[in-house]
Symmetry: C2
Subunit: 781 residues, 2 copies
Amino acid sequence: MPISNAELAVIDAYWRAANYLTVGQIYLQDNPLLREPLRPEHVKPRLLGHWGTSPGLNLVYAHLNRIIRQRDRNLIFLAGPGHGGPAVVANVYLEGTYSEVYPGITQDAAGMRALFRQFSTPGGVPSHVGPQTPGSIHEGGELGYVLTHAFGAVFDQPGLVAVAVVGDGEAETGPLEGSWKGISFLNPQRDGAVLPVLHLNGYKIAGPTVLGRMSDESIARLLEGHGYEPRFVVGSDPAKVHAALARALDESFDAIERIQRRAHVDEKPRWPVIVLRTPKGWTGPHEVDGVPIEGTFRAHQVPLSGVRTNPEHLAMLEHWMKSYRPEELFDDKGRLVAQLSALAPKGHLRMGANPHANGGYPAVPLEMPDFTSYALTATPPGTEVLESTRQLGQMLRDIYAKNPTSFRLFCPDETNSNRLGAVFEGGGARCLVERTTAEDDHVSPNGRVMEVLSEHNCEGWLEGYVLTGRHGLFATYEAFALIVASMTTQHAKWLEASADLAWRKPVPSLNILLTSTCWRNDHNGFSHQGPGFMDTIVSKKGTVARVYLPPDANCLLSVADHCFRSQNYVNLVIIDKQPQLQWLDMTSAREHCARGASVWAWAGNTGDSGPDIVLACAGDIPTLETMAAAWWLRKNVPELRVRVVNVVDLMSLASPDEHPHGASNERFVELFTEDTDVVFAFHGYPGAVHQLLHGRPNAQRFHVRGYREEGTTTTPFDMVVLNRMSRFHLVLEALRRTRRRPPHADRLENACHAQLETHRAYVREHFEDMPEIRDWTWTAS
Amino acid sequence: MPISNAELAVIDAYWRAANYLTVGQIYLQDNPLLREPLRPEHVKPRLLGHWGTSPGLNLVYAHLNRIIRQRDRNLIFLAGPGHGGPAVVANVYLEGTYSEVYPGITQDAAGMRALFRQFSTPGGVPSHVGPQTPGSIHEGGELGYVLTHAFGAVFDQPGLVAVAVVGDGEAETGPLEGSWKGISFLNPQRDGAVLPVLHLNGYKIAGPTVLGRMSDESIARLLEGHGYEPRFVVGSDPAKVHAALARALDESFDAIERIQRRAHVDEKPRWPVIVLRTPKGWTGPHEVDGVPIEGTFRAHQVPLSGVRTNPEHLAMLEHWMKSYRPEELFDDKGRLVAQLSALAPKGHLRMGANPHANGGYPAVPLEMPDFTSYALTATPPGTEVLESTRQLGQMLRDIYAKNPTSFRLFCPDETNSNRLGAVFEGGGARCLVERTTAEDDHVSPNGRVMEVLSEHNCEGWLEGYVLTGRHGLFATYEAFALIVASMTTQHAKWLEASADLAWRKPVPSLNILLTSTCWRNDHNGFSHQGPGFMDTIVSKKGTVARVYLPPDANCLLSVADHCFRSQNYVNLVIIDKQPQLQWLDMTSAREHCARGASVWAWAGNTGDSGPDIVLACAGDIPTLETMAAAWWLRKNVPELRVRVVNVVDLMSLASPDEHPHGASNERFVELFTEDTDVVFAFHGYPGAVHQLLHGRPNAQRFHVRGYREEGTTTTPFDMVVLNRMSRFHLVLEALRRTRRRPPHADRLENACHAQLETHRAYVREHFEDMPEIRDWTWTAS
């Protein structure tokens, strides 16, 4: 049954109200209802905001209100063009959510005045959609991620529909174009739905957009190629667009319900998508000073400038705002008239109040298995060679089993390669809603292991998943994590800003595991050798950023347990997947991880006395080389008192003023002494440690060896030699730095040089000899 | 005229030869021609490499050889699936290029043996396509960029065709999906052509690919939607595939020639694309130990393992290699037989020897205008407020004019916003090969300003442009540069590795301008405030990485002139676009930039004596705050001897052992003294400076203020207050740190606190007062 004209009139009025409030936020500091003639002093001294996209956002939001009420659907709204911050704020204000969350902004004239004044004002509300906006899980700054967030939000939420508005600017980005494929991973039986609204208004900031200039036919082909069924809503006459959009939405939700009712996932459904072509800055000034505005790039931000000083512009602003007929929309007290407020859904069905979007409350608690049950059994340190991440894989398998609808692993097709394949035991599978074949290995529409060769999708899906209260892990090659450095930065910023918002519920942490690290990509070569992602996390706020470098399986398990239980953090865990020596039994590992950094007394020889030199390490390979260096020193120059310190929580090095995990100066001195030289073997670029150590007692005594941007296809041991972090380099550095040069130091130095020369000769001569790959990788001595 | 069976037979033999050499590289260390029975000791001790994609690469390469010869075309080959390194090496060896570049690898049995042994061997050749591979401009590690590189290579190269093989793994990434739109920016009148070959073999590492599982119909729609005309070549019978591919290539090149012959660019041409569906690991072992290999994910890397110890596998390897009939392909001496070598083009038309791909030789020299002609005229420091990037815009305008076919600006739609709009003067325009409208501002198919809302495309196009010997600049918002941190890292790695290759010609530097910086995104808010991209560059090798922070227009011009003239660097230049105080006349600016860092004597008051405190700064806003702090100190505590140091070349802080720009310790002490405390105001995260200072005399005396991840929509001055880098914070820190506390210090401290309190009250109270935006931004005092 088509929607009636009366219903459309209400939607139109609601839309006008939202447009009015949007313009008011951009322009007015007083006289919010325009009940008196507009004067210059009513206008803000600084005009900020993005008008261009706002009427489109307001249009979609108003129409969705009807859908929610009529169909009793559970919807969340993601504004890809998040620059239209005032539009979304206008809507959550109209529906009443905003005043509940921010009681100072009441639903009356005084509240409206405050609403206008706070927007984009120093100390007020930011100009973009962000965590401050109720009902949002999507920041409107960096473009490209709205669909990945939408898909992440609806995985394992069968009742939820995420409506994602994609601007034609955003649609031009790579990450957005790569995210249409979410439907190949969306199972209508157990997941919710995403309804993308591709909003084409033709321009980005100053230039036209590619999609904005493409024909409807080309766009239809593109979206059909991606597997969607597009519906076009095109026009600039509000009445016609209202009718068309209402119809398109009804058809789209009919389609979604049809798809979700189907008994089997035999093939990928053709999910609906709406293409909405309306003018940029629609209903705004058509022409200013003889120059066209509406429908052009000039409507992007503030269409009328100089309003305080230009009487003509002031009159145009008044005319523009009055064109929405505010007297019909708001009563004398400034309240939305009852007929309109009836359009908005009630309670938690209001999109601004939807619990999924405000921390996922009620948050789904994660049932955790006992991580100690995956422990490797105690053997003397450095005697067993095992793949640490395999133990984590078993833990993940059991987390999946205990949390069948609230935990997922995201990975660019490397789950097996990363030794996490245990997640495929007991019915686990890769998710794919496409044709499968007999030769496929654990691939099914019912799988929950999310493998897509797109770091952007992995990261974005997980972000959407945790922001709606569920739990997960993104596991990826270390070097290629940098592909999503910017996304992770934005997520960290979201968490940093959320920390000040008591009404936003805490969300599970974003957990990232970096495997296939720079030190063990000797087979893949230089492009695969890059530890730089860590640096991105280190610079974020201590309230949010965590970096762990477990040296072995038991430490990894302990760290993982902690990360999965935590909230509101970005947890970065770095450990390689290759077989590696194991060091700590589970009891020691727990204690070590709880402390963040400890002396490994058994690896040194200082007994109770102070050291002549400290060997410190952070990361699995640095730990291996340090253990071996300590062994060489103990064996060859036993008179030298060597202390070994392992750092598993990198931020324990930071000053406690900068990071809550930062060790107190007392504890720091306990570990590293006050003034003994420290030879520090580090997983990443040495600069990361140097910056953390600034301000620590005598920081210049720390001699950090780490990745120096040297590498190629070679052997694992050659990687540590090329980067001057091998055991022999560490021994030589230790002998150079100690103030108490032991007897026989010369002999040991010569032996180290000889070992390095033997190694280099081996590499040089491989053409002639082609010997077995000789490597020290698996021994600590 | 269809290609004859005889011709196809030659192509097939050539393909077999390349496949044979590919397998040989992965497996053999001896007996390269299999002229004696294969024994375990002929097999390498470590088997590395990616077989799965290689037969497809070999197939396309062989067929392109025919196209080049028959049509006398100038082609370069970009292997998106660059893991297939041995395939590309096999081809450049077959055509003779490899032996010219690496004379040790001769075209005979001994050379073939060496070719096999060096592959993926320590000290040998890396396993991926990279700078070591002649004819390549595309590293095969990080996936997603092959089309951006291809488009960048053919801009302004009308005679060139870049054939870009896109693997179906890579096709799943966001950056790749976002790069099909290159044809909307490709002008057939003045640019070359890109022929994408979408090679679908169905799998990535372990799982199926989305495109691999989509129907031909869906893929056709997708590519047609993007604006292409697809041709499908599908099969597993070599003879049929050869015939179909030859036909598809002929038709595609006919189409390219037709498009390029057209007199006008009236609408976007439908460029050809080839979709090639062949089995993964085609022609390799069909089944091993009862498990299917060919056509499955198991063919991804090394299909036969344990060959040295498993006689059955050894026999299968021999059978596999002999299935290519090497005795027909190579003569007794191991040379490719004449009939086959005749297929390869000659000289520079060989794709491995194509000068475009080996440094763009003959490199196009850049004609530079005199940068001093854009200088702002000398006024006393800190008296004029101007937009510095506007001066750069004028310089860019004239570089365009002097280099009409070898310079381009790439920017995500922010050219005007970044005040570089002068490039639109005199006929300059944004490039767009789509419908344009009367309201468009400087948009034309003939434009050479490349605006696309995709940092990936901007960066990738510029990479392709400079790697083929041309010049350009990528200008972008600072925060969103991080989107391409990983791409830039890979480009830096390319340059780092190229430095060892004398045969590869130097290429123009990759120049990146970051504007709209964190300190002046007070209007856009927290998501737009992120200086982290710099950290990515700082960690790269000193041979390649350069970071400049010009404090004003004249310094910017001097730095830009230097960057545009340079080769083989990644030059990062950071300066905001907003109006800012100007400091140096052009003579001083040149000297200052040449030195990298200098004392600004006029800003301090030390005369010839040593300072009590050093105020240092790097970046435009830090310079402003430091100048103001120095002014406050000079005025209020004139007894305090203040020295001001400005750093324009960030790497001058680094140790000269780490970076060639690093100041000698002598020079460093001249600037910063040996032990006076330094209050350092810095553009980015403070950690970047701390890490560079490690090892400098008494590094702990440097107190760095910078971006602390604080921000929102606020005023410019509030940004420096929130991050504790304001002039008042600097003054307070200086008074706290100096060992000679001046008279009246208390009074000044109180004044600073009062100023900060006034500011904070202003921000707190804006709801009530809504005063004019009050800010110290434009004054140094």
